[in-house]
Amino acid sequence: MGLIKEPIDVDFVVDSRPLTKKEKLAISEFIIADKAKRKRGELQNKAKRKGKSKKQVA
């Protein structure tokens, strides 16, 4: 696996602040939606594999 490179200028400035309620909600909603999307993809892949194996049997 190759390395992922970026320019060498590593300035490091971190400015932490508390998340707003809106931001917290946005993160949670994104995670829920992303998980659902992943599950849909997994189910579709499963269905595709099933379809292929049925064809092979026939």
């Binding site: 992922i4 590593v10 490091f12 993160i27 992303d34």
Partner: protein
Amino acid sequence: MKTLKDSGLDFKIDKLTNSIENVQTGDSFSTEVSLLSKEDLRIISPKNSWKFNWLSEFKYPTRDVYKLTIVNNPGVIQGAVSLESRIDHVYMHLLESAPFNVGRNKVYVGVPGNLVAFACKLSFQRGGEGYVSFLSKSNLIDRYVNSLGAIHCGGQLMVINTEAALKLTNKYFQ
């Protein structure tokens, strides 16, 4: 007063390695991540040119502060990260490279990538399915997308999802 636009994480991912690499020699050194101790706070203080107040970070009961060190050289802290486990993910409050790993004259590359990959690993271990979120500086959003595979969720919000987290953890912790 700082505006919201100016806040957020501003670490640059220089290189993702399963170790850190000496810029001058190109030699790689295996690293380990461990919990920061009270004694370590004497090292990572503004007095020693660290930018942030890790003492106050250390005091938050919901946050864990970790340090990155080279194996067999635990006395030299290469970087630190403050993480909070939430119900569905790990939130990265702060991440900082040691002063000698910052800028064009840095000693080692790969410190931020190591620490972010560790956050992903922790998220897997704590039931967060690898999800990690953080606030990004606006000008670095594209870099996080390209180097970490992070997803921009609007504003300064960035999320590393399961797929990207798997890639990062596989790269670092195989």
